[in-house]
Symmetry: D2
Subunit: 272 residues, 4 copies
């Protein structure tokens, strides 16, 4: 027995608290758009739409540091490489951007989200050193990397220090509480114990601190990373597009020796 759908059901189905559109009127979270243009920054606007209210100047600045930091890490990231290849295939920049962003999944784009989930837990711990020790023991037992720490290429990620310093200053100014920062630093400290080389925070860990201090949900922090990295994806796609290449795959010419499957055989071969 299926109840018929009414127009009120459909209206409710598509209801939103974000945008209120009437003829000649666009309000975003209640603010008329013409008041926002010129008055708020792009990062303020992102915060407004995602959180429901405008940030303070200090909150917005801290978020901006994280968004600036993560824009790009070069064409060897699969997200960037795929977007560059897309740009040579006769699709618009929108498709190149979608191609790159689409690859920021649990492995390539999810370390920050996973790190923030851990930091959110630790931020509420009564005994932080003990709680951190538990987290590390758990990861060691599972032979898992701690998301947000260590980098396969950078001994020290150059984005760590300025982001930690930004959060530190925001704690001093009373903008944020500092519990995520404290948790991440304790993780970093304990991770280094007994090792010849430390395992410092990477970009995912450092931005997770920012997002956590500012109260973003771990899942939404992935969305913010995607927004940040969109800038790099777009720049690389445009560089490729401007160069005029066509149907560029990963290698200039075919690699004749790269086949590892069965030798030639025939459909009716009785030996097959």
């Amino acid at each position: 027995m299926t109840t018929p759908t009414t127009i009120d059901d459909v209206t409710a189905w598509w209801a939103t608290g974000i945008s209120d559109i009437e003829p000649g009127v666009i309000r975003l979270r209640g603010y008329p758009v013409e008041q926002l243009i010129g008055a708020v920054s792009f990062v303020d606007m992102a915060w407004l739409l995602l959180r429901g209210d405008l940030p303070t100047r200090e909150e917005s600045a801290l978020l901006e540091h994280a968004l600036v930091a993560a824009v790009d890490h070069g064409p060897q990231a699969p997200s960037i490489a795929a977007a560059r290849m897309a740009a040579t295939c006769g699709v618009g920049l929108n498709t190149a951007l979608a191609t790159g962003v689409g690859l920021l999944g649990d492995v390539h784009g999810g370390a920050g989200q996973q790190c923030l989930a851990i930091l959110d837990d630790l931020a509420g711990a009564d005994d932080l050193p003990a709680a951190v020790a538990d987290v590390l023991a758990d990861h060691r037992a599972r032979r898992a990397h701690v998301p947000g720490f260590g980098h396969r290429f950078h001994p020290v990620d150059p984005r760590r220090d300025p982001l930690v310093a930004s959060v530190d200053a925001a704690v001093d100014a009373g903008t944020v509480a500092g519990r995520h920062l404290g948790a991440a630093l304790e993780l970093e400290r304990q991770l280094a114990e007994g090792r010849s080389r430390p395992v410092p925070m990477n970009i995912d860990g450092a931005t997770a601190i920012v997002y956590g201090e500012l109260g973003f949900d771990p899942e939404l922090s992935r969305g913010l990373f995607c927004l940040s990295r969109s800038v790099g994806i777009l720049a690389h796609a445009w560089e490729e597009r401007s160069s005029g290449g066509r149907i560029k795959g990963p290698i200039p010419r075919p690699l004749l020796a790269a086949y590892t499957g069965p030798a030639e055989r025939f459909v009716c071969d009785p030996r097959a």
Copy 2:
């Protein structure tokens, strides 16, 4: 006869002028990333990566106005609707964002790019009124809308006036030349002639002025629109995701009467 690929070919194939990565070092367009964090805004960073150099404060502000203006137009845009539906299907926010951005094609996302191509032509015209008249005559002959003008819902797009005012102020300040603005205003003036209702610039036209005055390529202006609208897509996807709905299609319940094809028939029906 195929020349073998060498590692130098591969290196050249993936060369970029955007990011320079060494162990412990990330330079973007030559600037060490740790210097950029905290010193430049997110919009500055987008300009740097897309254009190669940092913008002036005034250029950055003007670009920011355009990016702020276009973030969202509600859940009935197919890009937003598709992203909201994606968010209920067990995919990450990256896929929801990619789904929405991917729909910003020539029709849904291309009007600004098409408008800017026209404005770029008109900006160099010696006799602007005559050049505009030619453009309009050409569109009328093809029964085509002039991209960037008119809106099927808003009599006047509320984002027009603040963006025009921003460009106007930037012309007065000597930041931009004003030729794209002049071309767009002349197009708007001539489009209104002999009509009871004017056909004012919409968001695509108003942002095309900004992008054109700032020297962005029309194709890249689509990329900037995608970056701007990414904020709205992300906000709507997150709103849907937070609501906990699952596999939400366009309508709450099946529409039993919506089938318009052939009546029931059978595979072995001799009459079929």
Copy 3:
């Protein structure tokens, strides 16, 4: 210390056991492509590429039944709706298809994969009824649906019976072992116990039996579902594309009453 990349590294990086391409020669899993064209069916070819060898005629027929069964379930599925909307946005059918397939995530497209993971476990059970009882107890404890069983719209999914009959015949013919079928039927039997309405297998459950009996990995079974559903996505996108609609969102006209957020407020409002 980073070892330099050599061309042999790159070659190995892109090595594949699927396709062997030389000038004038294309071999797929060892078979020259010109021998396959006309000799094998499209489903045979999919099996060959995915599994490495050609299927028997009986295996191919059984796979074909599953692929035929899952092609479409109408425009209210978000994957189909999103693809239809994409088709009106000035993107190619490739983007419409990608849009739809991209939505077949863990929730919308993953029930078959999850069901097959369960069936794979049960297929090796010594005491099937006890193992099934354990699975059901575990799901009840987590208040989770058993993936592959029950349908929010169909009391009995009309695709269940013909697929179960196909597998049954294949068991009789010795093509497959029947352990996945047995596990699914026992799940269905125990799920119905003590209920007024049974919770019969749906399309995800019925196809999971087929894929499991034929030895496909659960994760790959999602890929096969995507291939099947691609046919429906393509047909719906094409129907929409042929109709000439432009920028079609979920509703014909704006729903003015659908806003649920804050009332109008102003950027400088001291009360805000």
Copy 4:
């Protein structure tokens, strides 16, 4: 003045002639799905959904040859490479498939569509040799390749001969008219005139003949190519997924020498 949307408007908005779904009933183009399972092939089903009626056995066989022929051309195609990279990023096979299919744009996936548009024109020509000469003169004047002819890697595409032979046999059997075949052969003949090396049909040209003879629209033929290539994309994504690699970009290790942009500079550098 905006007319309110009614539920009938919404129903009409989502109307379809493809699938007719009621509780317990799924009819595709009028046929109950339980009758189709086991009775029709996967290719028959694709034809039914795309065209509205079941094909004859001969039509289905010819379509199957084209779909079989185009499944794969190795991991250096950007569509395949991007899908393989996606598979290492923690996304589902659905996203890997969507990533690859999304790249089949006008340049990478559109040659068949463009070729078929030409063949459709030529198929109706009274004087075929003259019409073909006009087409070639037009392409030479624009210095454009004729889509569907020539290959940058294969001197002769091994898929050409079996597909031409299949169409030839279908002409002899009266299944198709042969006008697209005639047009393509005349194009090939005239393209070879005065050259030391012929410019034979490639896979796009040979499949365009099949799709044209069977009455598919050029735009839809791109959709069929996407369906065919989906098999190869899926196989390559699965091969990569099974190998367990993570975040695989185009090159095993960073290419330190691949940067071509400005030398190091500093944000406050007065020389910058």
